[in-house]
């Protein structure tokens, strides 16, 4: 793609999210979200393959519907209460409709069906932007709604954790696995949103870090299938150590960082007398752990059937810029002992 067009699209992506973050009026927030959607569509279909075009089409329909519903709910709220302010959205039917529209934006169950197919059709870099940057603006809006009625959030959260785990069970395509992992983690985030918004913020930040690290590992070796994951030992041997640790952190195992949000969420839910929901969430995330473990197994614990020493690959001189990847991988593995400091930093 020509550099001026490419930079215009990237700047528009930044502009859209910034507009939504800076707004107190629902209309301006909607405009920022629309700019984000419009800016990423050419980026998604830039190589004009059939899969990319199909993924872009499905993404466009899902996001356009969700944006229109968001604006409709805001206008209805204005007609009913006279308020356009985001922080003054009272707890009515329109607030629930806004929540559902934003849930469709970020791909929470039961509004998640576009997510795996769209991720499958994209390149890993654009999939990374989709999983991380595109989620920021809707999440900020959901964070600001601050409801008192928690039923819809608990339903969305539990369904997302179950669907995210169960859906990824039989997948061998890495991008679909990443999509289902995104659904599950956002489910954990929205589960705790009505009880403790700072914990939801912590969950989303740690999820963004972990998924950046995993995407970067896959981008280094250009793998999109479990079969090609198994050849990582020959290309970049250090990845066979770091990526399984990142995967287990995504699965939420102590002593890795991914345990931190799950632990704090289970503690908060128990304090709110919702122990059965906490149990259900914890047990459902075992499904996700299964496919993370399968990826680690394929990467680290399998032996190729031929003579390993006799099949050295071509060591072409490529320039990998691994700064961000090493930062996020280190944070994904080592941050659990710093939990008290992080909790002191968040506004509890």
């Amino acid at each position: 793609m020509a550099p001026p067009i490419y930079s215009a699209l990237i700047i528009s992506l930044g502009l859209g999210t910034t507009m939504t973050f800076a707004s107190t009026h629902w209309y301006l927030a909607w405009m920022g979200i629309e700019i984000n959607t419009l800016a990423i569509i050419p980026l998604m279909s830039q190589n004009h393959t059939p899969r990319a075009t199909e993924a872009t089409t499905k993404y466009f329909f899902a996001q356009a519907t969700a944006s229109a519903t968001l604006l409709f709910a805001s206008i209805s709220n204005a007609f009913l209460t006279g308020e356009w302010d985001i922080l003054q959205t009272p707890n009515t039917l329109t607030s629930s409709l806004i929540t559902l529209a934003l849930a469709m934006k970020i791909g929470l169950a039961p509004l998640h069906s576009w997510m795996p197919e769209v991720m499958q059709g994209l390149s890993l870099l654009i999939g990374l932007i989709l999983s991380t940057w595109q989620k920021l603006a809707p999440l900020y809006l959901i964070y600001q709604i601050q409801p008192t009625n928690s039923n819809i959030f608990i339903t969305l959260g539990l369904l997302s954790i179950i669907v995210g785990g169960w859906g990824g069970f039989n997948q061998v395509q890495l991008r679909k696995i990443l999509a289902y992992s995104s659904i599950a983690h956002l489910g954990w985030m929205i589960l705790i949103l009505s009880f403790s918004p700072p914990l939801a913020l912590l969950t989303i930040l740690i999820y963004l870090m972990m998924t950046f690290s995993l995407f970067s590992s896959f981008m280094l070796t250009r793998t999109t299938h479990i079969n090609s994951l198994a050849t990582t030992w020959a290309k970049i041997p250090i990845l066979t150590i770091s990526t399984p640790l990142v995967l287990l952190s995504l699965g939420g195992l102590p002593p890795l960082t991914g345990f931190m949000p799950k632990w704090l969420i289970l503690q908060e839910l128990t304090k709110q007398d919702l122990a059965p929901i906490a149990t259900l969430a914890a047990l459902s995330s075992l499904f996700s752990l299964y496919f993370y473990l399968r990826l680690s197994y394929a990467m680290t614990l399998t032996m190729p059937p031929n003579n390993p020493a006799g099949t050295l690959p071509w060591r072409l001189n490529t320039r990998h810029n691994t700064t961000m990847m090493s930062l996020t991988t280190t944070s994904t593995i080592c941050l659990l002992p710093v939990t008290p400091a992080i909790m002191a930093l968040l506004p509890f």
Binding site: S45, H48, T49, E54, T57, K58, A68, F79, L80, K176
Partner: protein
Amino acid sequence: MTPAHFAFSSAFMLGLAGLAFHRTHFISALLCLEGLMLSLFIALSLWTLQFDSMNSASMPMILLAFSACEAGTGLALLVATTRTHSTNRLKNLNLLQC
């Protein structure tokens, strides 16, 4: 719920149902999307007219601009889909299944 609110709400719901249950062609989904945007345009114009507030008079026009952009994007995707999938039937979008 005032009659005006009911009017644009039902128009929106009809368009949303059309978008959700379209069965054959891509272009009918795009038309329903335009119908959604039209009902929202009417809603914002009614807001300005009923409450005589000049503050929000620009909202329908900005909505029109964004809606036109979205329509253009949708049509470009229609053309791209027809080029890569040889048809605009929605059943042909099946490359990315599990």
